[in-house]
């Protein structure tokens, strides 16, 4: 059932598995949606979509697949809306009395019956129902006070298609947390487990041993628990040609920040010279040299950048991209300093590996740093290298 809907969702990037699709059919077979499209909309969403950021995509798929399908609820709402306009029916007092005796439930039931009988096939808008059935019960309901008083004019349930077309979850896709889980998992391998912190873990083996030696007098032995003590220094290129990859770099950054306790990060523009920045906008700078002195060689150094610049920026004195910035040591020399200082360092490049040889400077930087693509696979390899 609805197999096309499955593919519609898939093609719009909602990741559904067969597992969930079968669960949906299980729900349908239990009639959890009570044969209503409106409920189906919510039931299917709760089973198929597991992220509010994807609700918008679901809405679009739903609207496109189910558009044009009319449901009993819709028909009735439509007809009742039409009836509301027909307050001015001329009726005899007897007729009025007869109408007032009817309650809305009956009216609805009647409509549904009529609709099922196919009497309203191809019916558009509610007004005609009154016109044609002026003497029928339908016509009379238009006058019926309950119909109006209960406020059926504005339907109690918004129709599923309407809800879907509203796309009220549009904004949720923009402020979703970046999809960093995969990156985090990759980075989590970057750990150095060392006994650190307070002695809060009971060493059972040693305790038993000591207690036994103590002739049964309990002697508790505590040890420090293992904590991740990975130290990482992240140097990120920002601005210029990196603008296209800001999103990717941010993901890496946010993943690293939560995954690594001791994370230091600095920015540079295109290449590193004698200064390095803690904030790209305020241009608050640190001397690269003092930075190297401050952070021990046991820090793992990850540089992120496209390493694609004018050769002069890398190789010449005073070659920095900023006109008034003078560097008496060429950039490549600075990169070499960094490489030599840290025991382990890598360069992550957001540009695809196949274009690396075709640029002027990437091969040169590659001679200094082991370079990996800033992709999940590349990051995994880079982490493996750092942990070797």
């Amino acid at each position: 059932m609805f197999t096309e809907f499955f593919f519609e969702l898939k093609s719009r990037g909602v990741p559904i598995s067969l597992h969930e699709w079968i669960a949906l059919h299980e729900a349908l077979s239990l009639d959890l949606n009570r044969a209503s499209l409106d409920r189906f909309y919510h039931v299917a969403r709760s089973i198929l979509v597991k992220d509010e950021a994807l609700f918008d995509k679901y809405d679009m798929a739903f609207a496109s697949y189910f558009k044009g399908i009319e449901t009993p609820e819709e028909m009735i709402d439509e007809i009742l809306k039409g009836l509301e306009k027909a307050k001015e029916l001329a009726l005899t007092p007897e007729q009025k009395a007869m109408i007032e005796a009817l309650d809305l439930e009956q009216v609805r039931a009647n409509f549904e019956q009529q609709w099922r009988d196919g009497r309203y096939k191809g019916h558009k808008g509610g007004n005609r129902a009154i016109g044609t059935g002026g003497t029928s019960t339908q016509g009379a309901f238009g006058y019926h006070p309950t119909g109006i008083r209960v406020g059926q004019g504005e339907s109690r349930h918004r129709r599923a298609i309407q809800v879907a077309e509203e796309r009220q979850f549009k904004n949720y896709s923009s402020d979703r947390i970046l999809d960093t889980r995969n990156l985090k998992v990759a980075l989590s391998r970057l750990r150095t487990l060392l006994p650190m912190g307070p002695e809060d873990e009971l060493d059972i083996e040693k305790t038993i041993d000591k207690t036994a030696r103590n002739a049964g007098e309990i002697d508790l032995v505590w040890e420090r628990s293992l904590t991740n003590t990975a130290k990482v220094i992240l140097l990120m290129d920002s601005g210029g040609s990196m603008d296209d990859y800001v999103d990717l770099a941010e993901r890496l950054f946010s993943a690293a920040k939560t995954q690594i306790k001791d994370l230091k990060y600095f920015y540079f523009h295109n290449c590193i010279y004698q200064d390095i920045y803690t904030d790209m906008y305020r241009r608050s700078n640190h001397e690269t040299m003092s930075l190297l002195r401050r952070f021990g060689s046991d820090y793992k150094c990850i540089l992120v950048g496209d390493a694609d610049m004018a050769p002069s920026e890398l190789l010449h004195k005073n070659g920095a991209i900023h006109y008034f910035y003078y560097n008496d040591t060429p950039g490549i020399q600075w990169l070499q300093y960094i490489r030599n200082h840290f025991k382990k360092s890598v360069w992550l490049n957001p540009r695809p590996e196949r274009v690396w040889p075709r640029t002027d400077t990437i091969p040169l930087v590659q001679e200094v740093f082991p370079m990996y693509e800033l992709t999940l696979a590349g990051l995994t390899d880079a982490v493996k290298f750092l942990m070797k």
């Binding site: 990741p15 598995s17 597992h19 969930e20 669960a23 299980e26 729900a27 239990l30 959890l32 949606n33 409920r39 919510h42 039931v43 709760s46 089973i47 979509v49 597991k50 992220d51 509010e52 609700f55 349930h157 009220q168 949720y172 947390i177 999809d179 960093t180 889980r181 985090k184 998992v185 989590s188 009971l202 059972i204 305790t207 038993i208 207690t211 049964g216 007098e217 309990i218 508790l220 939560t258 995954q259």
Partner: protein, 286 residues
């Protein structure tokens, strides 16, 4: 089959009601997400009350391990007993203490198990629970016992999306996102807390609150609980509703970040300028 339908103290939307019933019928955990203060945790309590079941709450902390939820082997107690000769130390089962998930599985009647703020735990935490949640059964090697659920508990899991949850875990859940309450519902919520609030104050507060929330640049949008604090402050301070229109007294209850103060100031200026411009235009047009 029992069907959930909300309680008098907890107003539930039809969508959420459906999601709960789907999760019960499909015997899958219900994962509830939503902004803070939208009643994620209360939902489980409401379900327990409505279906007349016991509730077991497992509060997740950053140090919580999946194993803690199943059982803990209290070795220290056993060691202590061995030393001082209290009780029968050869009976290990006396030192096996079931965790919250363990209790829910072991219970004689069907219970509601609330796993609160699952995203607080380590990134691998949900994965460690996959199998136990699937089969609702686990093995205790120390006593060579297997605990199997007689009645599958109704599992409600809440998350604040601090961390993303792994896909295999998500696949097994039914998901519902509680949207932020709209203005009418918010009025009801405030009225629950302050039954005697003046309508004028209510209108002013609601208007201002949703105006603040509409500013997209805010780092942290104020939530329901902050609104309640603010209203409390306004009532205690005896602030005239007219004042709220012009300035925002006790802003500290709503805005918690320095940057957001600036954003709010800028937005206020912008709105004022824009309004003046509109006024001048309308004068010009007429």
């Amino acid at each position: 089959m029992s069907t959930y339908s909300g309680t008098s103290t907890y107003i539930v939307s039809p969508e959420l009601e459906d999601a709960v019933n789907v999760s019960i019928a499909l015997r899958r955990p219900l994962l509830v997400k939503g902004e803070p203060g939208t009643g994620k945790t209360l939902l489980a309590h409401s379900i327990a009350e409505n279906l007349d079941k016991k509730i077991i709450t497992w509060n997740i902390k950053s140090t919580t391990k999946a194993q803690d939820g199943l059982y803990i082997y209290d070795t220290v107690q056993r060691l202590n007993d061995a030393r001082f000769g209290d009780g029968d130390i050869s009976d290990i089962s006396r030192y096996i203490k079931l965790g919250k998930l363990g209790q829910a599985v072991d219970s004689d009647e069907q219970v509601v198990l609330l796993i609160d703020e699952i995203d607080k735990a380590d990134i691998e935490f949900p994965n460690d629970l996959l199998n136990e949640m699937d089969v609702m059964s686990f093995h205790i090697p120390e006593t060579d016992e297997t605990v199997t659920a007689k009645h599958r508990p109704i599992v409600i899991i809440t998350s604040n999306s601090e961390k993303e949850l792994p896909d295999p875990f998500l696949r097994r859940c039914v998901f519902h996102y509680i949207t932020f309450p709209h203005e009418q519902l918010m009025e009801d919520i405030i009225r629950v807390h302050f039954p005697d609030i003046e309508q004028k104050l209510m209108d002013a507060v609601i208007a201002k609150f949703y105006w603040i929330r509409s500013i997209n640049k805010l780092r942290k949008k104020p939530s329901t609980s902050e609104l309640v604090d603010w209203v409390q402050a306004l009532i205690v301070g005896g602030v005239d509703p007219g004042v709220i229109e012009e300035s925002i007294p006790f802003l500290g209850t709503l805005i918690k970040k320095n940057k957001d103060y600036e954003v709010l100031d800028r937005q206020t200026d912008y709105d004022r300028t824009y309004r003046k411009y509109r006024e001048s235009r309308s004068r010009y047009d007429s």
